[in-house]
């Protein structure tokens, strides 16, 4: 009864789809979140009759008979389309419009990347993210600064008391990857470089294909509920259909068992 196992691969694959959809929906309001999409491919084929075998002296079987053995998930693919921007008016909220990630450093020195630009300052005035990880290159806001302004190219300037001219105190750089879908998601909106993502390419926002920065905005999640709910429905129905195969296979086995009374 191959069908029992085939249907169970189907159920497992659909479970993956529902899990992915659930995570997308759960993160519909997460700043800088990028949705994922489960993708599948057919498994292998058992050949019952090879194409091209002779059916008589002069004729050959044109197609052969192959029975597929099910399905497997091939990828849970992160989709880096842009989320919509929300104005917050907060001086340290930054959104990247286009390609690029902010680089952060974890306490152990690991460099990680994020799309979440809702930054804060810590007790020393250093720009950090909500978990306290430092933005790289490190920028320290002077304690007496009255106004912080961040240009679309990442230049950070402040106005200090008694001064009319703004002083530049740093330059925010962003990082691009050739294959952002290959980054490893660590959770907490953070991504880690992998062999599949390619080397990080650092640069000034707005140059070499990197997106520009918007101060006072955050990038919302790119999850679209309509799409997710459609995927949820198709996933559930496919799960249903595969479970029907299992019950039917079971009934048919029972029928054969009834041959012997």
């Amino acid at each position: 009864m191959q069908s029992l196992y085939t249907a169970s691969t189907g159920m497992l694959a659909m479970q993956t789809q529902i899990d992915t959809t659930a995570n997308n929906i759960a993160n519909v309001n997460t700043i800088g979140f990028k949705k994922s999409r489960a993708e599948f491919a057919d498994l292998m084929y058992r050949v019952m009759e090879y194409a091209g075998t002779s059916t008589s002296d002069t004729t050959k079987s044109p197609t052969g008979i192959e029975v597929g053995l099910g399905v497997r998930p091939t990828a849970v693919n992160k989709i880096f389309s842009e989320g919509s921007l929300k104005q917050t008016g907060n001086q340290l909220d930054l959104a990247i419009t286009g390609k690029g990630f902010f680089k952060l450093e974890l306490p152990d020195g690991t460099q990680v990347y994020t799309k979440n630009g809702a930054f804060k300052v810590d007790q020393n005035g250093t720009i950090v993210n909500s978990d306290g990880y430092t933005l790289i290159p490190q920028i320290v806001i002077p304690p007496n600064a009255t106004n912080i302004s961040i240009g679309t190219d990442g230049t950070v300037t402040v106005i200090q008391p008694g001064q009319v001219q703004a002083t530049q105190i740093g330059q925010i750089q962003t990082t691009a990857f050739i294959n952002p879908a290959g980054l490893h998601s660590m959770g907490s909106n953070l991504y880690l470089e992998t062999d599949a993502s390619g080397q990080p390419v650092e640069g000034v926002p707005g140059i070499d294909g990197l997106g520009t920065l918007r101060q006072g905005f955050v990038e919302l999640s790119n999850v679209e509920l309509v799409v997710e709910l459609t995927d949820l429905i198709t996933g559930q129905r496919a799960y249903d259909a595969n479970s029907k195969i299992i019950t039917t296979s079971d009934q048919m086995l029972q029928t054969t068992n009834n041959l012997k009374r």
């Binding site: 993708e39 008979i65 597929g68």
Partner: protein, 272 residues
């Protein structure tokens, strides 16, 4: 002994095989670019007629009679399998690297370690070197692949990737939105779709590569869409019910022959 008993048994086996195919179709109901498989069950009359037509002897000889008898004992069986290549539903994803083909005899060509394979699953991605690859990491081939042996490469400065209906890829000049032409996708068509052999991983194998041709003006590439599976769930469910009921019927037939009739024969004849 009772030929009918073995025919029914063979009918049952056939239905179990059919169930395997239905199960595979339903397992792939959400697989991008998957094409439904169908089986043809050879009925008795057709097999009989086919065999009679190529009989070696005149119909009334002893050898011919033996031949027909042998043929008649052949029970229902799966004689053929075919893949339904109709185009599946198109789902809009707005993803630059999702491509679909809007006609049923066109394919993307990819380079695998075993050679060139065809696929309808156009949800591509880039690898760490910027090459356009499938989700299994196989390079997607451009129309110059025979000469260059290379796939299609993008760089981090390409923010806009535009692919027109013939598969011509254009990317923006760094720092502006003016497009320059990159490579062109190889869009394959096949002499006859029945030569394609499914290999798993959404790939099709072609034994004789001469049967594949390139299409410069296909007009069928759609960017930002993926082609979903073309499995028709209603049809599959109907077939599932049918399979289930047929097995029940064969069981009844076998039961009647072996249990009821034979018992009658043994009990009643023995009493006389």
């Amino acid at each position: 002994m009772q030929t009918g008993y073995y025919s029914s048994a063979a009918g049952m086996v056939t239905q179990f095989n059919r169930l395997d195919t239905i199960a595979n179709n339903l397992a792939n109901v959400n697989t991008n670019g998957y094409k439904e498989n169908n089986l043809i069950v050879g009925d008795f009359m057709r097999l009989y007629k086919e065999k009679r037509d190529d009989l070696p002897n005149a119909n009334n000889t002893k050898e011919a009679a033996q031949f027909i008898n042998r043929t008649m004992a052949k029970a229902p069986q799966i004689v053929d399998a075919y893949t339904n290549f109709t185009v599946g539903n198109m789902q809009k994803t707005s993803n630059q690297l999702d491509l679909a083909l809007s006609r049923d005899n066109l394919f993307f060509a990819v380079k695998t370690p075993e050679g060139v394979r065809l696929t309808r699953d156009g949800s591509f991605t880039l690898d760490d070197e910027g090459k356009l690859v499938t989700k299994q990491g196989y390079e997607v081939l451009g129309n110059d692949y025979a000469k260059s042996k290379e796939g299609i490469t993008f760089s981090t400065t390409d923010t806009v990737i535009n692919i027109d209906k013939n598969g011509q890829i254009s990317t923006n000049v760094p720092g502006s939105l003016n497009l320059t032409q990159n490579k062109k996708l190889f869009i394959a068509s096949v002499d006859n779709l029945k030569y394609l052999q499914k290999e798993g991983d959404n790939l099709y194998k072609l034994d004789d590569m001469k049967r594949m041709h390139g299409n410069e003006e296909s007009g069928a590439v759609v960017q930002g869409f993926v082609e979903k599976s073309n499995v028709n769930a209603v049809k599959m469910m109907t077939q599932l019910i049918e399979t289930n009921r047929l097995v029940g019927m064969y069981q009844k037939a076998m039961d009647a022959q072996m249990n009821d009739m034979d018992r009658d024969a043994i009990e009643k004849i023995a009493r006389k």
